[in-house]
């Protein structure tokens, strides 16, 4: 159980590093992303969880190898620069590491109603519209 909590804390630390927002978009809600990621990982397969946590360790190992410093000790912009270097790597498997790690974060952040509405998808208005409309056989 402790090991799980430890890994979950690691996941939480990765959120601001992996999840960037562009100008004018709603800010990341760390708690919301963290809660969704926890739910997403716990409803999936043990194999996926194992892979996910292994990839966190791989990413941290890479950081130690390249920068001789643990990922957590880097300032946010430094950590993001480190990730950019991985995204632009020629090895596609290496690129896949942060891409896979960030998938639950993207699902969480871009799943928020205000974020979707900022992108032109009026979730709450559609919910109201659909609630009034029921198709019967």
């Amino acid at each position: 159980m402790r090991w799980r909590e430890y890994l979950q804390r690691r996941v939480e630390k990765l959120i601001p590093v992996l999840l960037c927002t562009s100008y004018g978009q709603p800010e990341v809600d760390l708690e919301q992303v963290s809660a969704f990621s926890r739910e997403f990982l716990s409803s999936g397969t043990p194999a996926f969880r194992l892979l996910y946590f292994t990839l966190i360790l791989v990413l941290e190992g890479l950081c130690m190898l390249r920068l001789r410093r643990p990922l957590q000790s880097l300032a946010l912009e430094q950590a993001r620069d480190f990730l950019e270097s991985i995204y632009s790597s020629r090895t596609s498997l290496l690129k896949a590491v942060p891409l896979l790690l960030s998938a639950p974060f993207y699902l969480a952040h871009y799943g928020r109603e205000d974020v979707q509405e900022a992108l032109g998808f009026p979730v709450s208005a559609l919910q109201e519209e659909a609630a009034k409309r029921e198709v019967t056989r």
Binding site: S102, L107, V115, Q127
Partner: protein, 537 residues
């Protein structure tokens, strides 16, 4: 009646004429038909029964609630492929796009010639399809609500002279909310949870939700019932047991779960084909950056198709992605990802579906019956076909006015000009160079055939080895269809329901327990006139 784990206070033991495991495209029609014919039917479903109100436009939440393993199941092999399957009452029909295409003639011909399935005739299938299309309100997608994304792509395809059109779908009065794969919020899509299952329940079937079938009970070569266990999500403690003694058991858990259950029970394995011959429809998607807003994901997600290349095994079908799903599929991370998502309103999306020729797949028993391992190796021909589908989609997007097209191919993630297209066409694609593939419609793992040496079930759907054990899902389809299979699965399910009815009637007349009097008349008793005999009046 619906029985949930919260309604149960102890182990349940009961009898039935038929137990159906799974409530998707295969199980639900069988349950409805046999319940309406007056049999005591019990349906066991691993997922929960969600209603229209639960489908609330939240794609991320839908993944964790309505999909098996939160949509994280992948094939083992390069490139890894995401295999999305629904796990809810209605199975994948609840979370599919509603596409209803008939079996292509050349595929049926192959079934006749290579698999000896000559008694599945085109005439019979056409009658079944017609009845199904009427029951499910199948009609071509309405251009009014198809969505701008789809119309733009269609325009591009027509400019290039490609054969294209609107997809037939099982939706009634669809408003094009764009959320089919996350549960239809208006109830327009006629998935099994709003059509077959409610009708089965009305006819007296009992549905046990959140219950996993674990043991298929066989005595002297004949199936005699099923044992299962209820569970509550997130709870490790084992739930109460369900034991149903039945005359017939219908396995309809889908092409991954059904062979896994057979392997864990060590039954019907004599042909050596259970779990083998896995066929999937690998799918790739392109994202185009357009000059105008596309209104995504509003519109019908899968409303248009380009079938010009269907004879080569490439079908292009529409897809729209709500923001969270688009975000998790983009091939970039960090700042570039954020920048790309800012352009979401200008993004168009379309997908391709490959009918395999030289790929090999297999389902192997995993640590538990519900977690099989899926191995899949892309053949070089299919990789090439996949690459060609990206080329075609990019070409069509450019004809539709796209500025840039994004693909999941390493080295070609951004295609800006015809020159890039040419470069991609000469590139020999390797397995590790594609990211973010998904696949749908697993098929063939308990294939139907005329010989017990190389097939698992007869053309009636009954297993060769265990009497009264029927399989009624995509696992019996002997080959890849090249089109979305739900209508064909349902057609074969109705056909199988007819054979089960015949079997039950003959065993009843031989002195076994009788059935309830039929309330709506018999709809399935003969394979020659199935399903709609009562509707003809």
């Amino acid at each position: 009646m619906i029985i949930r784990p919260s309604d149960i206070s102890g182990d349940v033991r009961r009898e039935a004429d038929v137990v159906v495991i799974g409530s998707g495209a295969g199980g639900a029609p069988v349950a409805k038909e046999l319940a309406e014919a007056g049999y005591r039917v019990v349906v066991i479903e691993e997922g929960e029964y969600f209603k229209r109100q639960d489908f609330d436009f939240h794609a991320s939440r839908a993944l964790t609630r309505f999909y098996r393993d939160a949509g994280q199941s992948v094939t083992l092999g390069l490139p890894f492929v995401l295999l999305l399957q629904g796990m809810t009452v209605g199975g994948t029909t609840t979370v599919n796009s509603g596409t209803c295409l008939r079996l292509p003639r050349h595929v049926l011909k192959r079934w006749h010639l290579e698999y000896g399935l000559r008694d599945i005739t085109e005439e019979e299938l056409n009658l079944l399809y017609a009845a199904l299309e009427e029951y499910l309100f199948v009609k071509r997608a309405d251009p009014e609500v198809a969505g701008k994304n789809a119309l733009l792509f269609l325009e591009g395809a027509r400019k290039l002279g490609y054969s294209a059109g609107f997809i037939p779908r099982n939706a009634k009065d669809c408003e094009g909310y764009g959320m089919c794969p996350y549960g239809c919020p208006s109830g327009a899509k006629q998935s099994a949870n709003v059509s077959w299952i409610p009708d089965a329940l009305k006819a007296g079937a009992d549905l046990y939700t959140r219950c996993r079938a674990e043991r298929i009970m066989v005595r002297s070569g004949r199936v005699v019932g099923v044992r299962g266990r209820f569970y509550r999500p997130g709870e490790r403690a084992k739930g109460h047991r369900l034991e149903v003694e039945a005359r017939v058991v219908v396995l309809a858990g889908g092409a991954l779960q059904t062979p896994s259950l057979l392997m864990h029970n060590r039954i019907a394995l004599g042909s050596g084909q259970v779990g083998r011959n896995l066929s999937i429809h690998p799918c790739g998607g392109t994202i185009a950056l357009l000059e105008e807003e596309t209104g995504n994901p509003r519109g019908i997600p899968q409303s248009t198709y380009v079938d010009e290349f269907a004879p080569d095994g490439i079908m292009l079908e529409g897809v729209t992605l709500p923001p969270p799903v688009m975000a998790s599929t983009l091939p970039w991370g960090g700042r570039r990802h954020a920048e790309a998502m800012r352009l979401y309103p200008y993004c168009g999306t379309f997908g391709s579906m490959i009918s395999e020729h030289d790929s090999v797949g297999r389902v192997v028993a995993g640590p538990s019956a519900r977690q099989p391992l899926v191995f899949y190796r892309f053949g070089s021909g299919d990789l090439e076909r996949l690459k060609r589908s990206f080329l075609l989609m990019a070409e069509i997007w450019f004809a539709a006015g796209a500025r840039r097209v994004f693909t999941p191919i390493e080295g070609f993630r951004e295609i800006n000009s015809p020159r890039d297209l040419e470069r991609l066409s000469f590139h020999r694609l390797k397995r590790g160079e594609i990211y973010g593939l998904s696949a749908y419609h697993p098929m063939g793992t308990c294939r139907m055939g005329s010989d017990p040496e190389w097939s698992v079930v007869k053309s009636t759907g009954e297993t060769w080895e265990v009497e009264n054990l029927y399989i009624c899902d995509a696992s019996v389809l002997p080959t890849s269809l090249g089109v979305n299979p739900q209508l064909t699965i349902m057609a074969l399910a109705l056909r199988t329901a007819g054979f089960i009815d015949e079997r039950l009637q003959s065993s009843t007349s031989a002195g076994k327990a009788g059935r309830r009097p039929a309330e709506k008349g018999l709809g399935v008793s003969s394979k020659k006139a199935p399903f709609f005999r009562d509707r003809r009046g």
